[in-house]
């Protein structure tokens, strides 16, 4: 019979047993629900070995691209290595550059020791050597020499205060990841993409936008960047350069408080700006990144406006301190 490795234990599969059955038998807890490959509660990541098709039926492409499979339907014929879907590998990295790129926005470039594979749109947990952890989205592409993160200064924020005022190039940090599923997958490449980012929610979208173009997306791509005022619309020149080089890309700015000297920037809440262009989002793939409460409310709004749940890829940034060694939610750029 085949076996699999999970959380440091090697488990032999009994006749007809699924990976979930075997984990139950040996007493390793894994969340589960319907136990029939529907609800998705028991998804695990297969890092090595061949996955039978039954264990992947109906899983969103963004998850299968990261190795996801239903533990309850996973009956392998050869040995596998499994991991928690939200687990991440530990890395060491060095700060290469810290530059202010907008009001209260810092661009941090990191050089990772060893190989760091990721998909644009994912995030990492940054670890200071005293154990302080915060999550930040990756704005870079895997071929770039460094990892790029955008850090928003938060009042009283321990990590952002350190990065703005204390950290220096050359300092070492820990990284855990990559994590997250707010990523482009090459399907329906002639369909519309709607990228919606508030503040440093632009960081993952800057990766996703360029990744979609590099992978040959031909459908229209509309990027909405929202901020309180025009000072918050950083990377404007970079975005406009992409839009002028790719005829299918439109970049829109929107701010809560005017005035805006730039006619391409609207004074409107982000959700209203999207709704005015897309009253109906059926058939659109929507990427939503930024402040957690805003992203969650926009996600519901866009779902009610017709976007399919599996086409709503959201990355809510939650500023609250994360418990050590545990990821409560998405990044907090």
């Amino acid at each position: 019979m085949a076996s699999f490795g999970f959380r440091g234990t090697r488990i032999e599969l009994g006749p007809g047993e699924s990976a979930l059955d075997a984990l139950d038998r040996v007493g390793i807890p894994l969340k589960s629900g319907c136990r029939s490959g529907v609800c998705g509660a028991c998804l695990v990541r297969v890092t090595k070995g061949t996955v039978p098709a039954d264990a992947r039926r109906g899983i969103a492409p963004v998850l299968t691209a990261q190795g996801a499979a239903f533990a309850c339907c996973l009956r392998p014929t050869e040995d596998l290595e499994l991991d928690d879907l939200d687990g991440g590998l530990e890395h060491r990295a060095r700060i290469v550059a810290l530059e202010t790129i907008g009001q209260d926005v810092l661009r941090m470039r990191l050089a990772c020791e060893g190989n760091f594979d990721y998909t644009p749109g994912q995030y990492v947990v940054l670890q200071r050597d005293d154990g302080l952890e915060r999550s930040y989205s990756l704005a870079s592409l895997p071929g770039d020499a460094t990892l790029e993160l955008h850090v928003r200064r938060t009042i009283g924020g321990a990590m952002s205060s350190w990065l703005f005022d204390g950290a220096r190039p050359g300092d070492g940090v820990g990284l855990r990841g990559p994590l997250g599923t707010c990523c482009y997958t090459p399907e329906r490449q002639d369909g519309p993409l709607v990228l919606v980012g508030a503040g440093t929610g632009l960081a993952p979208l800057f990766g996703v936008l360029r990744d979609a173009l590099n992978r040959g997306h031909t459908g229209p791509i509309q990027l909405f960047h929202g901020a309180r005022d025009t000072n918050g619309l950083y990377y404007r020149a970079e975005l406009l350069a992409i839009a002028s080089a790719a005829s299918n890309v439109t970049v829109r700015g929107c701010v809560l408080e005017g005035p805006t000297p730039d006619p391409s920037v609207r004074v409107a809440p982000l959700g209203d700006a999207v709704a005015s262009v897309f009253p109906n989002l059926a058939g659109c793939r929507v990427f939503l990144c930024g402040d957690g409460s805003l992203v969650r409310s926009l996600k519901r709004r866009f779902f009610l406006a017709g976007a399919a749940s599996r086409d709503l890829l959201a990355d809510p940034f939650d500023a609250a301190a994360l418990p050590a060694r545990k990821i409560a939610a998405g990044p907090c750029n």
Binding site: S32, G33, C34, R35, S36, G37, V38, C39, G40, A41, R57, G58, R296, K299, R300, F303, L304, A308, S309, L312
Partner: protein, 121 residues
């Protein structure tokens, strides 16, 4: 039971119905307030499990799970009216997908069977 699930189209039918059903629930003022401040992905996963059960498909729900899961909602006023809305919107979602009335009635019977557990009676 399994026959019903197969007639409806199995797991792909659940996929097709879950968005229609959950969108109807969120848009229905009689029940929408129960979904405020809930995580949409977690809710969709729960609705998916519920539809699988209501379609006569494989599930591992027990009456005790149903009671425990809904107890906080019962404390917030969940009652027969809301269960009626769920069954009504479930039927409307299936009708939207072209399911015939007799089959919708079979689904309603299964959904009805968990009413007492859901309401903690």
């Amino acid at each position: 039971m399994t026959q019903l699930f197969e007639r409806l189209g199995g797991a792909p039918a659940v996929d097709a119905a879950v968005d229609l059903f959950y969108r109807r629930m969120l848009a229905d003022p009689r029940v929408a307030h129960f979904f405020e401040d809930t995580d949409m992905d977690a809710q969709i996963a729960k609705q998916r499990a519920f539809l699988t059960m209501a379609f006569g498909g494989p599930h591992s729900y027990t009456g005790r799970d149903m009671r425990a899961a809904h107890a906080p909602l019962v404390a917030r006023g969940l009652d027969d009216l809301h269960v009626d809305v769920v069954i009504e919107q479930l039927g409307a979602s299936l009708a939207e997908l072209g399911v015939d009335a007799a089959t919708i009635a079979e689904v309603a019977v299964i959904a009805e069977s968990v009413r007492a557990d859901v309401l903690g009676r």
